[in-house]
């Protein structure tokens, strides 16, 4: 019982942390290199415990991120929902990929996410973004192994600690 609660707390804490990471600015020239943290953390949970991540959760997280971001309500909700849907559909296969293939898959997810964002913005009347717009997915994919291993390690430790 207690263990379940700790796990749920850890789950919620990582999602909250991803929102904070999204808001914390990087120093000036590094700004385009910032990965899309909520997507990375959600993808980790999709692969790790797919029964806990649902489309509804992704939608809610996206709406929360939109509230903090203050750009367009529903934009990130749309992106995260679409991403989680694809990830959940291919979850069973993705889980058995070696790490480099998983990274490539994550790159695909993130690029797809950027394309969705581009569509939304262009429909909203924004101009086309500069080239640096496409750096972020690559950084996200490069960071993926570390994110995955660190979160996995922490999860394992918490479970051991708790038992």
């Amino acid at each position: 019982m207690n263990r379940l609660r700790v796990r749920q707390l850890w789950f919620a804490a990582t999602l909250l942390m991803s929102l904070f990471l999204m808001l914390i600015p990087l120093p000036g020239p590094l700004t385009p290199f910032k990965p899309y943290w909520p997507a990375l953390i959600l993808l980790y949970w999709c692969l790790q415990s797919g029964d806990r991540v649902t489309l509804g959760l992704a939608f809610c997280l996206g709406v929360a991120a939109d509230l903090f971001d203050g750009v367009l309500l529903g934009e990130q909700a749309l992106r995260l929902t679409a991403m989680v849907f694809i990830a959940l559909r291919f979850r069973s296969r993705l889980r058995f990929f070696p790490m480099w293939q998983q990274s490539l898959a994550v790159l695909g997810f993130l690029v797809n996410d950027r394309i969705l964002l581009l569509l939304v913005r262009v429909f909203g009347g924004d101009p086309l973004p500069p080239v640096e717009y496409w750096i972020s997915p690559v950084v996200g994919a490069a960071l993926w192994p570390f994110v995955f291993l660190i979160l996995d390690d922490l999860r394992a430790r918490l479970r051991i600690h708790d038992a």
Partner: protein, 334 residues
Amino acid sequence: MALNRDDKSPLFAPGVAGTLRLIVYLALACVLMVLDHRGGWLGNVRYGLSLVVEPVYRIAGLPSQGFQAATVAFADRQRLTEQNQRLREDLLLANAKLNRMASVAEQNTRLKELLDTQHSLSLNVQLARLIGVDLGSFRHRIVLNVGARDKVQPGQVVIDARGVMGQIVEVMPTTAVAMLITDPNHAIPVTIERTGLRTIAYGSRAGDMLTLPNIPVSADVQAGDKLVTSGLGGRFPPGFPVGEIRDVAQTASGTFLAAQAKPAADLDRSEDVLLLHDLAESAGPPPPAPNVGPPSDMKPDPNVAPTLPSVTSPTATPLPARASTAATSTGATP
């Protein structure tokens, strides 16, 4: 455990229910976006939820604040003394200039009193600090630590020591979001100081420059020209430095000159900014008079009006009368 092969995660077969749910959520998101884009009520929602949003901003701003504190704490003495010395010199210079300006300003106010105009040279400002929060990439927005409780309103102009930074677009109880002049959705009416040419500076989609895409081909514009606010449009008061033109080239169509300008304000580095309290006087045409025409008691009775021409002067409007009679007669014959 590892091979979780139940209905919930089939290895290959996709679920129909999942797709349906996806469509519902996507539709919901689209509806939200359209409603927000049309109605712009995200601001109201955010204002309502500011109890949650603002503390998060404060916490998210802590790392950058700590970073700055650390830079100051670990900066060597040499650099701090140098900086101090430079600031002293700047202050001395500024004070000397101010003293010289004071007499001119006084003279100016006296002359203006004689001319009976309402403009004043004094600035009514409010100091604000930046909160280091990243509001999405390629969005040139900043968060300030003042809000509705400090009487901040949307539309107030944000400046720093060197020039115009932007304007407030969203106000929450204790924080406010400002759009920088480099935002692609931002435009600011400017004058080229040297020639007095009026034009509009837009934010650019890439980087931290301003673009002036429609300068007439015959206009005299050079790199190095200073841009100041023109005061047209009634949002930005006139005379504040905006930027400096870096290069001028013809547009692809050849009908206009397009210039790139570098903003005068330190958009990346400013920590403390000033909010102007007086908005510029709206310099457009006066609003239309609400009540034109004769007083209502002198207006003809609408029930009587249509019959008037035929009753009073049938000869003055023979054609319509005949036409109408013809119409009625033709309408009556069949």
